[in-house]
């Protein structure tokens, strides 16, 4: 009998601090309101000085564990995808492993592929579970991405993450198919030791984001013999609110399908956390039988597409044991640019 691999549990975390494009624009002499409109971003999330990708990954993973009764010692693998791992050498995943008490009988590694490192981790866990190598795998996409001061990316680069427990028992949603489209395309990159990434301006559009997302989506739709109307929800990588809306339209998705997973307007671009958080927001309200198309994009470049079906198990799922994505957007605190710059380590401190 074919094992149905899928999502057993999920958890999300977004820091409570926000800053608006207007406030950023005010400092750099840019029309922030116009930026906000152009990007379809009302505000972006900012991590507190005591948060980083490790603490975000831990909280998302703990939220994931709170909602299920899986014994953490049965987790065989943990992969954390991010482009802002606190260490270049020393994994984020080991701290997560200790913090959810999965250590020591498991394998861990950190992933990097710009914004699709988290979904690449999901695919890896699918393989490990599906082949019987592990009983449960954890895939986390989390980031505390930075944009260079005054650069366009500063208006959107934000922080957040989501974790997924992949297994084959009591899955609340099956991942029926995954397809990836990958090329070597230098649209956005960051060299070792550099604080801020660089990008190719308009090159990041058509030849990068749109080409890979469209091919990823189309590739999956072909292989599953489905079209947009077969899906209840769709979520695409969201570096801003505009790009995924355009993709959705081009693929034939309506506002009702896309609305729930579109978080960029209120949290900005959480990079490796973007599609994972969008998927979490969808699962927060999905019903049995709902079908979800999720397509992540990572610069460099590639897309991961998933065909996900919600099961009856979701009605028994203890979602209330951890905050929903909506609840994570309550109790916000808006910052001025100076405090934001202090929090994000953009101010040169004396002493070192």
């Amino acid at each position: 009998m074919e094992m149905k691999v899928g999502i057993v549990s999920y958890g999300a975390y977004v820091p409570r601090y926000r800053i608006t494009p207007e406030e950023i624009g005010r400092v750099w002499g840019v029309d922030g309101k116009a930026m906000s409109k152009g990007l379809m971003i009302n505000c972006k999330s900012v991590p507190s000085p005591d948060e980083d990708t490790i603490t975000i990954a831990v909280e998302a993973s703990r939220n994931m564990m709170r909602r299920c009764s899986v014994n953490p010692k049965e987790i065989g693998a943990i992969y954390v995808g991010s482009e802002s791992h606190p260490y270049s050498v020393k994994p984020t995943g080991t701290v997560v492993a200790e913090a959810i008490e999965a250590a020591p009988d498991l394998t861990v590694a950190d992933f990097e592929f710009a914004c699709k490192a988290g979904t690449a981790a999901i695919q890896t866990c699918m393989g490990l579970v599906g082949s019987g190598m592990v009983k449960y795998g954890v895939a986390v996409g989390a980031d505390t991405s930075q944009g260079a001061p005054g650069d366009a990316l500063e208006y959107s680069a934000s922080a957040g993450g989501a974790a997924f427990l992949i297994g084959s028992e009591k899955v609340i949603a099956t991942i029926d198919q995954t397809y990836s489209y990958t090329t070597d395309t230098p649209d956005f990159w960051r060299r070792e030791g550099q604080m801020y990434p660089r990008h190719g301006g308009r090159f990041t559009g058509e030849p990068a984001y749109f080409k890979h997302i469209m091919n990823g989506a189309k590739g999956l739709l072909e292989r599953t013999g489905s079209t947009a109307k077969d899906y209840t929800y769709a979520v695409f990588h969201q570096p801003n609110g505009k790009f995924p809306s355009r993709v959705a339209k081009q693929l034939g998705f309506g506002d009702a399908q896309v609305r729930t997973g579109l978080l960029a307007p209120i949290i900005g671009n959480t990079y490796s956390g973007a599609v994972p958080l969008g998927l979490a927001a969808i699962l927060d309200e999905a019903k049995p039988g709902d079908r979800i198309l999720a397509v992540a994009y990572g610069s460099g470049a590639g897309s991961d597409a998933f065909d996900i079906k919600v099961t009856d198990e979701i009605d028994k799922y203890a979602k209330g044991k951890a905050p929903t994505v909506k609840e994570l957007n309550d109790n916000l605190k808006f910052l001025d640019y100076a405090t934001y710059a202090k929090f994000r380590g953009k101010i040169l401190l004396g002493g070192e």
């Binding site: 507190s48 709170r66 044991k321």
Partner: protein
């Protein structure tokens, strides 16, 4: 100054709130100790490692303005003595709230955050801090 082993050794308590229960007298303690302060040698062999749930109440709280160097970016910040549901008390920062939101008696829960880092090239230390618990049940 490299202090990796000193911090690493306490991670089970700092990450996962591992304390202990003395099975000779039934009292809970945090953090770990070699013997129960009440039972002394009678407790040897009867110490059971126990994880605190992480929920508790604020016992006393202050807003720190004159901070140690590691905490410069967060000052002023709140520090409290928190009484765990199980009984033991601990000291820790209270975060993600305004000073007016919290006082003696406010329920809180533990979460993992960065405590400090040994400079830009050193080890990062993580441990518990406390967030106020919202009114409705999580």
């Amino acid at each position: 100054m490299a202090t990796a082993p000193r911090f690493w050794r306490e991670n089970p308590s700092r990450y996962n709130l591992v304390g202990f229960k003395c099975n000779s007298c039934g009292r809970y303690y945090f953090p770990r100790r070699s013997i129960c302060p009440v039972c002394h040698r009678r407790s040897v062999g009867k110490i059971e490692e126990v994880k605190m749930k992480g929920t508790g109440k604020i016992f006393s709280i202050t807003e720190v303005h004159d901070a140690l160097e590691e905490f410069t970016l967060q000052k002023p910040y709140l520090v409290a003595i928190v009484e765990f549901d199980e009984g033991p008390k601990v000291t820790g920062q209270v975060i993600d709230c305004e000073p007016n939101d919290v006082k003696i008696g406010t329920p809180v829960r533990a979460t993992l955050r960065k405590l400090s880092e040994e400079g830009p090239s050193g080890i990062i230390h993580y441990g518990y801090k406390f967030v106020p618990v919202k009114e409705k049940a999580p």
